[in-house]
Structures are given as C-alpha cells and as structure tokens.
Symmetry: C2
Subunit: 339 residues, 2 copies
C-alpha cells in the first residue's frame, strides 16, 4: 500500500479543548482512516482520557517525541504550541493542520477552505493552516458570489458565539447565565465585561489602531483565501451570548448586478452551503439552527433598497465547519490528491 | 398663569407596559410638572394600580372620555390604540405624544428627537410622533457627524434587545433562560424561534419584499428626522438575547473626510451623547452599560482600514432614550416653546 492509501496515524494536539472534542467526533462521523489516535494536550490535561470509537484513549503531553510516526497532526490548541510543534511535526514527515492563527498568513503555508481553494494545497510544505472560524463561512459565501458576479466592496458585522473563545468562553456564559436566573451579580473573569444578557464589541484583543485582532484576521485571511489581495472588506466583530454558532450580517457589492434569485441559486449550488431563506414562513438562519450541522446556512438574501448591493445573513457552527470539520476536510483533500 | 406654565394634566396610555412603566419613572426623575396623572391601559390591565410620586394610581380604561381636560397624552401602547385615540386627544385640546409607529410618517406630524430636530415641533397639529427605539440613537449620531462632515452612504446592523418587543419579549427571554439553566427544551411562543442563547435576524415581521418592518422604519424615519430624503441607509436588524439596550454597528461615509479624533470630538459635544471609547483599557459601549442611562453611548470610533469611512458602535437604553425619555423631552420642549 502507498502511504496515501493506508490508514493513518493521527495526533490531535488540544484533544480536550472545545474544538479538539468536536474534532474527534468529526473523525468518527466521517469514518476517517485512523490506524492510531494520539490525543495530546498541555500538562494540565495530560493523564485524562478521551473517547474515540468506543474506547478510552489516554491523553499525553504534547511534545515533539509524541509526533514520531504520525501522518497527520491536528493542532486545536494555543498558537504558542503550534508555533513550536508544527515544524517538529513537519520535520518528522507528518502534515500539520493548524487551527490556530500562527501560520495562517505565513508565506508558503496554504490557508485552505477545501470548497474554495483546495488547489492551494499543491506544493505545501507539511504545514497547512485552517482559517478563523468566522472567515470560513464568510469566504464560502463570498466565493459563491464572486464566481457569479465578481466582488466589489463588502461590509460585515459578525455576531460570534462564546465557544469561539474555547471552553473558558462557554464556562463563563454558563456561570453568568446561572447567576442571571438566580438574580445574583455577574462576575466577568474571562471576558472584560459580563457576556450573559449582553453583547461585547470585542473579539479577542484590541490592537493599537483600535481594531480587534479578530477583525484584522477576518480581512487578511479572506483576501489570502480568495486570492483577492485588494478586496475591500470593512468589518466589525461582536461577541454575543450564544454558546455555539457564529452569525454574519453581510452587505455585498458585486461587479455586475446580481439579483437575489440568481444569488440564491449560486449559493444553493455551492458545496457546503445550505440556503435557509423563506421569510414568508419566518425561515432564516440562526446560530441555534446551525449548531451541530456542517453546512453554512445563508438567508435573508435580498437587494439593498437603494442600490444593487445584496444583504445576507449567515450562520455556521464555529466548532464544526468553522474549525474541526474544515480541518478534517483538509486532511481528506490531501489524501485524495495523494499529497 | 398661562397654559404653558401651569402644571399639567398628564395621561399615559399603556401605563402598565414596558415603556409606560419607565415613562412614569422618567416623569418623576425629571420633575415633570404633573398636576394630575391618569394612567390608562387596555381593559385587561384596567383596575390595577401604578405607583407615581409615592402614591398608587388606579389604571383606567383608555377611551376618549378619559382624555377630557388632559394637556398631554403619552401613548406607549399599540398602534391601534394610538390610531383611534390620538385624534381624540388632539380634538380635546391635548397634545398626543405617540411612541407607536402609527403617526410617524404622516404628513404634518412632527417626528422628533429634540437634540436633532426640535424645530420640527413648530406648527404641530397636536399629534407628535416619537421615533422607533433604534432610530433615536442612530439619528443622534448621524446628525453629529452630518453637521461636521456631511453624510454619504451609511450601513447599519442592529442588535436589538427583547424589551424592544415590550413585556412579552422580556418574559419570553426570562422563561427560556430559566429553561436553559434547568437543561429543559426551549419553547418559542412570542418569537418564531427561541431567543435565549440565540440570535434572530428578524425584528417585528417580514414584508413581502423580504425586509422586516423594523428595517424599513429605521430607514424612513431616519430620512424624515434628518431632513435628508435621499440619504442612503442600508440596514439589517437582528434580535439578540439582551433584556434592555439596543446596539448598532454602523459604517458611515462622510462627504468630506472626517478623522476619528474629530468625529470623537463632534460626538462628545453633541447633547445626549456620551463617548465611551478607550480600547486600550477595554472600554467600549455595551447594552448593559447603557441600560438605565439616558445618554446614547458611542465607541469603537475608528477609520475603516481601506477608506475614509468611520466605524462606530452605539448602545442606548431602548426604554429610556429610545422611548420614554425622548417622549418626555418632547413634552418639555413643547412647554419651553410655549406650544
């Protein structure tokens, strides 16, 4: 058997995190050819077990020696860990598929959403980056529209769930929601202000120019993936008290006018997108509808009242297509291409 | 004493609703010259009492005879009631100040945010309309920018709290939040889908063209108040699981470039606006910060990375400045003008 057709040794760094746990489920669901699973984590989580295909697997410390003999190493942990270990994985002949932001904008590192730019995998150097959880649904929709009518200016406001910050975000929302119901004061520990019954116009941290790191990633990654370095993307990112599911409110200018029905057809035909759009029956995307699904949901597709621009509302499971599913699809695509 | 200087007979239709209750508090706080308070409501709520200046006041049925001798009638109830009773109030010599959408776009009815267009009150015909709770903070910010640099295209995504739908919205969020904490399924009764731990890209109801009634109101009212009938406003309105406090994510094009510091100064100098904008210390507007305050909070004021447009994030208490406070300010302005 050739290397590309045999079953794989798969390491998952960050296996006990919010994305890592979903990644194990996605590997199971998609029947990924796993010969051996190696769940890895920080020293704090090492020694625990994770469940995979009906068996418990011991979690080991993520360190270079744990990568020996691996075919794929999925990184679903901190950027610091990816920075240190992804080159170690590559050096050992594995392919690192990184969900952190560390490698995304690096020269020679493909930044891939398979439905959009699988060809970017050609010539990879054993490190492949998975985009930000907000970027992934965004570029899928933009690519579908771009192929049909070309992209002009794009304006986006995101409404991002707390699981985009990993388990600490989920735990903070849960604790504060309990406090709301008990009528107790809300303590903000992980986020700078309470997130329950509130929204925060901050995802991640602020840069000196007043933009959040999340906002800048969204714009830069979008341009790299679409191969449109001059694309005009104006963005504001907001955290909302939703456990899972990122939403995007998007206004798109096209190079040639695209009527909503044509846009709807183009989106429905695009792999991985489901059009959920029947206002007459109050049918539209919501994060709750998107949670647990791999499809990117798009609805409220309509023409701006004063121009040819298109409004859309997008929802996507940030742990699945926004992270784990996309990472596993990258591995599948590499195998299909014999890379 | 002239009519304009004596204490007033004040009727409040919808006195037991979410806005009505806050309106009574605002009349107290602002020491509004109330000679007699007449709380009115539907037959369902009539017979209950409301508290005003330390005394209980019986709620009577809102009907024409209850308006005899009133100076001001605040309408904080359904549009149907305003449609029927506002002309009755006017006929009796009272001034109707209406928070419903019924009269807002009517010819000859001033639609007023006192800080923006108090002069529109001149020549009123005893019915004055109070704008939508999202429109009010929006036009205050737009007016401040417009005076400084002229307005070009504006793009806005709103994140609206459930109290914008009145008590039923608040009760639904509360019931569903309890169910979330108890791990029970969420029942949607008032909104078409659960709002707890979710967001819905629908405020009010959909029109045949796919826009929500809320979206269209926002655009039309903004143009009328600002006196800019051709203003290009592209808008999407979203309901979020927040009890009180509407947020707006806004991108503004100006006719002449306006740098963020100049915008910050213009906003800070505008009456009723508080600039809350220090990203280096994680200080920004949130609905929780805005709740209970009359000021419209504005922050995240920054230049778009690829153009001269300005990004802003606005939060405002939709029951206070978005409704009750603005209505009382209209009455105060009418008195000051001897109208």
């Amino acid at each position: 058997m050739t290397r590309s057709s045999r079953e794989k040794v798969v390491a998952v760094a960050g296996a006990t995190g919010a994305v890592g746990e979903v990644l194990l489920r996605v590997l199971e669901e998609r029947n990924f050819p796993v010969a051996e699973l190696r769940p890895l984590a920080s020293e704090r989580s090492a020694g625990t077990t994770v469940r995979f295909r009906g068996a418990d697997h011991h979690v080991e410390v993520a360190r270079p020696a744990a990568l020996d003999g691996a075919d794929f190493v999925f990184f679903a942990a901190t950027g610091t860990l990816s920075k240190e270990l992804a080159p170690e994985a590559a050096e050992r002949g594995a392919i690192a598929i990184d969900k952190s932001s560390t490698w995304r904008m690096a020269e020679g590192v493909p930044l891939v959403v398979p439905e959009v730019n699988a060809d970017a995998l050609d010539g990879h150097r054993r490190i492949v980056a998975c985009p930000n959880c907000t970027t992934i649904p965004f570029v899928m929709v933009l690519e579908a529209i771009h192929r049909e009518a070309g992209l002009g200016r794009v304006v986006v406001t995101t409404l991002q769930s707390v699981s985009g910050s990993g388990k600490p975000g989920l735990e903070e929302l849960e604790a504060q929601t309990g406090a709301v119901v008990r009528g107790e004061p809300l303590h903000a520990e992980f986020y700078p202000e309470p997130i329950a019954h509130n929204v925060l116009p901050l995802c991640e941290t602020f840069r000196d120019d007043g933009y959040s790191t999340e906002e800048v990633k969204l714009a830069l990654e979008t341009r790299k993936i679409l191969g449109l370095p001059g694309l005009d993307v104006a963005m504001q990112c907001i955290r909302v008290p939703v456990p899972v599911g990122h939403s995007l409110s998007v206004l798109i200018e096209t190079q040639t006018p695209l009527d909503p029905d044509a846009a709807r057809r183009a989106l429905a035909a695009f792999p991985g997108i489901a059009v959920v759009d029947d206002p007459s029956r109050n049918v539209f995307p919501t994060p709750a509808r998107a949670a647990g699904r791999d499809e990117v949901l798009v609805g409220r597709i309509r023409r701006d009242l004063q121009s040819d621009r298109l409004w859309l509302f997008i929802c996507s499971d940030n742990l699945r297509k926004g992270a784990a599913t996309n990472a596993v699809q990258i591995a599948e695509e590499l195998m299909a291409r014999g890379l």
